[in-house]
Amino acid sequence: MNRRNFLQNSFFTLAAGFGAPSFLERTALAAAGQGKILVVVQLSGGNDGLNTLVPYTNGAYYAARPSIAISKKDVLPLSSDLGLHPSLKPLMQRWDAGQFAVVQGVGYPNPNRSHFESMAIWHTADPSARESEGWIGRFAETYGDPFCATNFGSSSPRALSANSLILPSIASVDGYQLKLDPKLDAAYKDLLSYPVEGYSDKGKTDLLRQNTLSMLKNTARVQKSLQKYKPGAMYPKNGLANNLRDVARLISADVGLRVYYVQQGGYDTHAAQPEDHPKLLGDLASSLEAFRADLEVQGRTNDVLVVAFSEFGRRVNENASAGTDHGKASVMFALGNGVKGGIYGAAPDLEKLDDGDLRFTTDFRRVYGEAMDKWLNVASNKVLGQSYPNLGFIK
């Protein structure tokens, strides 16, 4: 049997055997603010915020980037002085509909130009680097459900790490199942029900045992909820789009996840930026637009908020390789029917730089905080340690 036939067949059995929550249940969940979903998109490598949201009337911008600046005629204007990179065109309809927010000058105090240190700060939401758990991990602990957030991909980012629970990480929905004959399945679960004896690192053996058990539980839960899903849109061919299609599939199946985490890599554009950056932003925009169109067919556009971030922006001056080195402040986006479109945060001053980089004007935790307070309905101060003033990008 080839893979396609196999999938079709398994849809038949699943559709006949199991159902998603009934319409009434779903309405009840939505009424309690439980149906709202956050999709976090991590742009790894340090997205060049200045070439994403372009200050197209600023002479200092063009002076700093003679070979990589986006020319005024190519910019997609959002205001009299700011516009989007032309590769983000697929998202312009969202802008026109008032469902696209851009936050500029995003960063944190004492910025770190190391990918890993800065990413850890975004993941833990703690610039002092004292917090070990991820912000989504802490959200999950506050929310109290080990199946409320998932990463897509084989390795789980620190954002989802938590001390008291293990959040799932899914590479693909189809592959997310373990098939054993019933006798072996029962024996395996029996084996996993006992703590490991005779091994010196109990922390590790427990972690491995609990992780395997939770994987078995999670895979069963996901496979049981899957209904016949037909993508409602043509997705482009790239890793991010594949993951977003799986996210749409799980959303349409109402598996109960509140936060989905996906990643797109390649933003570390030290060289040849005019070749690489447009492709990255183009993939991002077309994937997100396909995802939105799909959610519309699934009837879920009102429930989903997308937030994108990167660990830092890039140096204002281009380097000699038609690229940019690691910088500081950058931009974030938010998309969705629940978004109040517009540009948020103060524009960083291109003439008052910090060692060649943009100074941040808006703390990124304000975005996390608002997403939790106004969208996920979880008090953000419990997760972030304090309240941050909302920016107002969520209606």
Binding site: F116, L184, Y188, D190, L191, Y194, Y199, H326
Partner: protein, 463 residues
């Protein structure tokens, strides 16, 4: 550090040594190390030569590259590269050499996705293998001029007047001092200038007339693009060259500490005691950072063999896959070498394509829902005498010729499986679960089921 007394080195210690310093092995292989005694067993692991059992490596990259140039349905040199290293890992008689190469690959992490040349990646891999036991500075000097690294961290884009900081930053943050090693942004900017003009020669893979150049990438110094001015670096001032920068970075006290700790984490434990670190620092100083001396000291120490340090590290996907094959004493055919590469990738470790320049974080980050699931899918095949293989259209799956041990009784089978996969007969709860499952039936079917249960147990993830 105290040395382990020679009398205390027996089969369990040899098994521990091979799990950590190699990719485990069959009972026969472990016994042969136990018979050598502590000192010789460690010397045997530290000995390297070209006759290491991989002389017949079937993956000839040059040939595969030309084949694909003429016929796009052929696998090509990049796949060849993947198979080539997998073959080495499975066949080598000098396993520590491959384990160290893997360590350095994770340390000087370089992605073929950006380098785009299997030949440059192979050259780098050979450099890591050849210099991996020698003085650390020699290795860093070579890696700084390695074409794959130059491409990966944009050194070739770094020119006088407009430096590209990529390599200079990672040299300190990830390769030598470590992120909190005590350098500044100023040091990054100044040292970037010293690597200007460092570039490499290669060819266009689309042009057959370029083949010789493409197949043999090499370092080139472009004097005209080099900034020979004064630089201030880590407290010193001079008209430094790139070589000077590497020398100063390696000599910085943070470097020894950073590298020694990382080696300890890889081979022994997630934490290093003050005593162990001090003792290794002394060896580093007296030997000028010679890696083989460090390893000898680690593998002969009491601490390495202490109970608290046995079966406590989570196997990397490479460990997990290769040790399974080596325990079975199985020699994979080329199609299976590709398959094993892919299995490892599915479990979270794509050789030659680490997630980023920091390499794999390792430890508990290997473990997620998806990686456990992929591990179970792999061992599910193993328990059914199936190994993953990549075959051409219409080609039959290669056969698998290892045998799982079927004893005369269930108890014997359980003991044999335990020794084969866990280096000891299963005890307590695990044994009870296996007995319950077999329910007295010592058949091939229950052998396969018990194999699955042992390989799927939490114990099997640990080294």
């Amino acid at each position: 550090m105290k040395r382990l007394s020679a009398q205390k080195f027996a089969y369990p210690e040899a098994a521990h040594l091979l799990r950590r310093a190699g990719f485990s092995g069959s009972a026969k292989e472990i016994q042969s190390y136990a018979d050598l005694g502590l000192e010789l067993a460690v010397e045997r692991l530290l000995y390297t030569s070209s006759d290491d059992g991989t002389e017949k490596n079937p993956f000839d990259l040059e040939k595969m590259f030309i084949e694909r140039q003429n016929d796009k349905t052929m696998p090509g040199a990049t796949n060849g590269l993947f198979g080539w290293w997998l073959y080495k890992m499975c066949y080598t008689t000098q396993p520590l050499k491959e384990k160290m190469t893997l360590f350095w690959h994770g340390h000087f992490a370089t992605e073929i996705a950006k380098v785009e040349s299997p030949f440059a990646m192979k050259l780098q891999n050979e450099t890591l293998r050849t210099l991996g036991f020698g003085r650390f500075e020699t290795l860093v000097q070579a890696i700084s001029k390695d074409p794959a690294m130059i491409k990966y961290l944009d050194t070739n884009r770094n020119v006088k007047g407009k430096p590209n900081e990529n390599y200079a930053r990672e040299l300190m943050e990830l390769f030598t001092l470590g992120v909190n090693g005590g350098y500044t942004e100023q040091d990054v900017q100044q040292s970037a200038r010293a690597f200007t003009g460092w570039t490499f020669r290669s060819g266009n893979p689309q042009k057959p007339e370029d083949n010789a150049k493409y197949i043999n990438p090499s370092y080139v110094f472009d004097k005209n693009k080099f900034d020979d001015g004064e630089k201030t670096y880590l407290g010193q001032r001079g008209k430094f060259s790139g070589e000077d920068i590497v020398r100063i970075a390696v000599a910085h006290p943070s470097t020894a500490k950073f590298i020694l700790t990382k080696l300890w984490n890889y081979f022994v434990s997630e934490t290093i005691s003050e005593t162990a670190l001090e003792s290794l620092m002394t060896i580093w100083q007296t030997t000028n950072g010679e890696i083989s001396s460090i390893l000898r000291s680690i593998f002969t120490s009491q601490e390495f063999y202490a109970n608290k340090n046995r079966l406590t590290l989570i196997k990397s996907p490479a460990d997990y896959v290769v040790s399974t094959i080596r325990r079975l004493g199985y020699k994979p055919v080329p199609e299976q070498c590709y398959g094993l590469y892919n299995a490892m990738a599915g479990i979270g470790q794509k050789l030659f394509n680490p997630p980023n320049v920091k390499g794999w974080d390792g430890g508990t980050t290997w473990i997620t829902d998806t990686t456990i699931l992929s591990r179970l899918n792999f061992i599910g095949g193993v328990s059914q005498n199936r190994l993953p293989a990549n075959v051409a259209k219409g080609q039959a799956q290669p056969s698998v010729s290892y045998q799982l041990p079927l004893g005369k009784t269930v108890a014997e089978t359980i003991d044999a499986l335990g020794i084969l996969f866990l280096d000891a007969p299963p005890e307590s709860a695990l044994r009870r679960s296996l007995e319950n499952y077999a329910a007295g039936k010592n058949t091939v079917e229950s052998l396969r089921g018990m194999t699955y249960l042992i390989l799927g147990s939490p114990q099997y993830h640990l080294n």
